[in-house]
Symmetry: D2
């Protein structure tokens, strides 16, 4: 295959960004966009006169000219649409989180493998210059043994009607976590609260427990007065602060002070609250979504595995599903299968 | 009593601050300082030639000329010293947390009451301009119904050898929480991790569960590359960000956007990540420790109850004790008695 | 006229933003784009298949179907192109600064008036929510008598080959200044330095002197390691900090402390470095360029005067021209005619 | 001489800091403090019972037991007091700025030299970890050829009754400048404005002109709603941002982007506003005033030259005196003699 013909289902908030980026990928032809709302399709026509439009997803799913389907719908519809696309021999890119349950995700992965098709999840953050740089710092030993990851992802957000705040925001953190470290959590604890009538948590806290001295913790909220996107990655040599709000200094690298052992070192920490120099690397600033789109198309054509592979996608759903059970059981530890 | 004669036990990191502030209180006479280390006492003599020094706590505890004792030792010694001081008829101010167990705290409170003595805990933050302002905003209805408190208190800190990071840092957050809201938690979940050989947690997360839609969560760490002291207080009318690192804008007050119901309002939130104006009140900038010291002396003389009363002190210990049990049981919900 | 047919000359860095915004204005039809570089025109065709392209400006200037011309070229070409457009009966929008000299600007204004055509300068900042809000605060008396405006506009920028840093960056500040206050400067002092071989200043400082106790000062640089866009507007009642880098708190309003007269007030300032509460108004977040484009089209159709009128454009050039003379004369005061 | 007996004149805002620091210097004995206000002397007695007090400066100046005098009075009194102290054979430390005129400063320097006495000016900033680090970065070639220094030192300050804002604040900037670079300015331009009835400028701008492509500019104000203490030091290899408000990241080192010559490099700057990695060195955090006090005492005993020598002190006064003349002449260039 030299050119991938693409159909995209769901032209709401995120869909236009995907169309714009796939439109710019060589070897990719955005052939059709489907959305139930005609006014959304009018926008497609205005900006991309050559792209066909339809209100019926089957016009993509059953279309023999379409090689790959991008699914940008609410989570509950991911499984049905992806399954049909795979059954019809089409490669699939699905928005995060992959599916609404582990069973669905596992079935889709098995189906894709049996058909020799690519099934990829859009965990866009894995393509950012910041996350790539942090991965490099771990791989080359700069950070040392990673001991904790702590992330705060809060803002005044739209309350989703069908999924809680962990399903909405934590996929970013969990996919980054699973990209950065090889270990997988053995269990989770999650707590949360709802301030609406629909019993969907708008604030939630998630702890991931590991076999060996590593811990991860995520703080997610739609009800924060300020927007915070801050992840700390603590190693025994260096610690990283990844502040995604910062325009030009997203990643800062600090010495791990508590590794220092002399009393003199300790006294300095009390006074300074810092152990050594700070280093702010320059990051690649290409748009992450452009790289994600390119990775999807390239992996279809060259039959390779994408950075954002479906094992990461599955692991995200496993952790989210366990978090649901933990919240229901008041924070009880729930094992990851 | 017109002048309170004071003895202070423990002249380490915090002791000098207390001596300096009590020295400046009218009607207070700092009579004696005790510390086991002669070089610390030499500092006292250098700065306060009129203050007597001793390496033996009994020289304060058994001294008939001393009316009140300030205990600034490691936590494990609080109970024994405070008990003896109360038995000898002396008023007591003890550093936070009050004691190492609920049983000890309850026994001291009972003893103080039976003797008609003041037993107060130094929860200094209750005397800051910031916390006082937030309390006013709650009392006068500005914030509305408080729905969550979320605090991050992390830095590159000295690992304490005897208490974990929650016992070290969370007393600040818990005392502020209990000062601001009348409800008390029904249970806690806590998780944590240790990166040293002594099994004392250097990172820990604490969730406090309440009967009715309110939640509190505290993130405490000695192993953060950056110092963060940020508490959010979310009400259904306004939300407050209390950033204690900010030199001049510690308290910011935001509209609670998700109370807005129209679609137009919702769309604006997506674009702006803010619902309305922000208001940054000017705060009283008197040193909190000075007010705390004055409160202790005034309440002794006028037989009144201090702002930082021992019920708040006891509640802090109750929550810390329950957090220990929850951490040991991998985050299990533990009821507060 | 019910629809304005538009031609745009210059599709470099800024041109695409203008085409995108005019494309979205009702009653506006972007008919033709001219650029000398075919690869730039290919971009136009890709994104706007219906727009005609040419490498020859005369195809716009002599085109009887075109009602209005947008000139987005280097400054030296503004005068010639605008003059021809006006002579041919076309309305003109020209990028800032209006022209390379006062004489050119005055000739264009006279020509436009004699022909009854609109001649407008794209001082985009006059259409931002921030500048509009500050104007309101002055108009409604909140700020009181304005006593100074101080602006820092520095970054690591591209050295322009034909104009110095004042001509490149200060038009933003000067147009905002002249929009906010009615008084006009009587003279300027300017100093600067060049670090290249072409004798074009890459750092420059500009002071504007006024008859009566008001002063304005602009700090412009292409050689700053950090990007700063900060303007302070000081009144005798309130002072405003307008920080254009801030994503959500661009405008902050402070009490003017030095108006307070008692010793107690003065002492507080020493301690606090702040005189009272701070207020951060919510701003209109519509893209300024969209409003500017709409203003141009509306004023053509309804024969009204735009916010960014050509008197402000002329005053900007007057100040820039005087600044050139002052820099050449080592900071000597140069009168504004 | 093995111990220096010290007398200090002026126990107002800054005096207590000096007494505290000299009190802690080995080989220094604070013998007497003079202030006209008895309530200030009561503070001395309370904190330092062994220090003698007097309301008459002659009790220090004529005291044969006193070796060195520290003058912490308003500027106008510096000359008379320092002259008498030197005439009586005493070493002198005088607050910044050294004197109210160049003639006075030159006379004092000549007198000190003829008597073999130390005459030092308290330019405290020269002893900070930040300024020392920047000096090292220049000396070791990291920064390359220094091309500009730009400083903003503004806040809501007390209006001084006798000196304008340049004399109050710019001595910090000018002494740092003269410490960092060897070249001296050939002329200055200064402009300013007053908003009070006493014709003393509360806002002023100062440009220092040099022979060879270097420029320095200082922005000083007592009427800023926010406190800014930011100096940029631009070299042809690296640029430094020295933000004195930052608690832990005062000095940041950036690549000098405009040294890069390829088009690809230039394009990156447009996108990123940054040319390379940023480096934040850890600084020495000893209190600068302690080092300044120690330097004064050590240089007396060891007959050495202090870091903050009186040539820097004289150069500061030369520039301030020239700035007065320039302000009076509406920004005219005034040569430095």
């Amino acid at each position: 295959m030299s050119t991938v013909n693409l159909g995209l289902i769901g032209y709401g908030y995120w869909g236009p960004n995907l169309v714009r980026n796939f439109h710019a990928v060589n070897n990719c032809n955005v052939k059709m966009v489907v959305d139930a709302r005609q006014e959304r399709l009018d926008l497609v026509t205005r900006n991309y006169p050559s792209v066909q439009c339809s209100t019926n997803a089957d016009d993509i799913l059953n279309n023999p000219d379409i090689d790959a389907v991008v699914i940008v719908t609410p989570v509950f519809a991911h499984y049905t649409l992806a399954k049909k696309a795979l059954e019809n021999g089409k490669h699939v890119l699905v928005e995060k989180p992959m599916t609404a349950s582990v069973a669905e995700a596992e079935e889709l992965i098995a189906l894709a493998e049996s058909k020799g098709l690519l099934l990829m999840v859009d965990h866009t953050f894995l393509y950012t210059g910041a996350v790539r740089k942090i991965k490099d710092l771990i791989t080359d030993g700069t950070i040392g043994r990673v001991q904790y990851i702590d992330s705060t992802r809060i803002n005044l957000g739209l309350f989703q009607p069908d999924i809680n705040v962990l399903w909405d925001l934590a996929p970013h953190d969990i996919s980054i976590l699973n990209f950065l470290v090889d270990e997988r959590p053995i269990s989770v604890n999650a707590t949360g609260v709802t301030h609406t009538n629909n019993n969907i948590e708008n604030i939630a806290y998630l702890t991931l427990n590991y076999a060996d001295g590593f811990i991860a913790h995520f703080n997610c909220s739609w009800t924060s007065p300020v927007k915070i996107r801050m992840m700390m990655i603590g190693g025994d040599k260096k610690m990283v602060v990844y502040n995604d709000i910062e325009p030009t200094e997203k990643v800062k690298i600090y010495d791990t002070g508590y590794a220092h052992k002399t009393d003199e070192d300790k006294k300095k920490i009390l006074v300074d609250y810092r152990a050594g120099d700070v280093y702010v690397p320059k990051l690649n600033t290409v748009e992450a979504l452009a790289d994600m789109a390119k990775d999807f198309i390239t992996c279809i054509i060259e039959k390779k595995e994408p950075v954002s592979n479906n094992r990461i996608g599955l692991d995200v759903v496993k952790i989210l599903e366990a978090s649901n059970e933990s919240i229901k059981n008041k924070g009880k530890e729930v094992a990851i299968k």
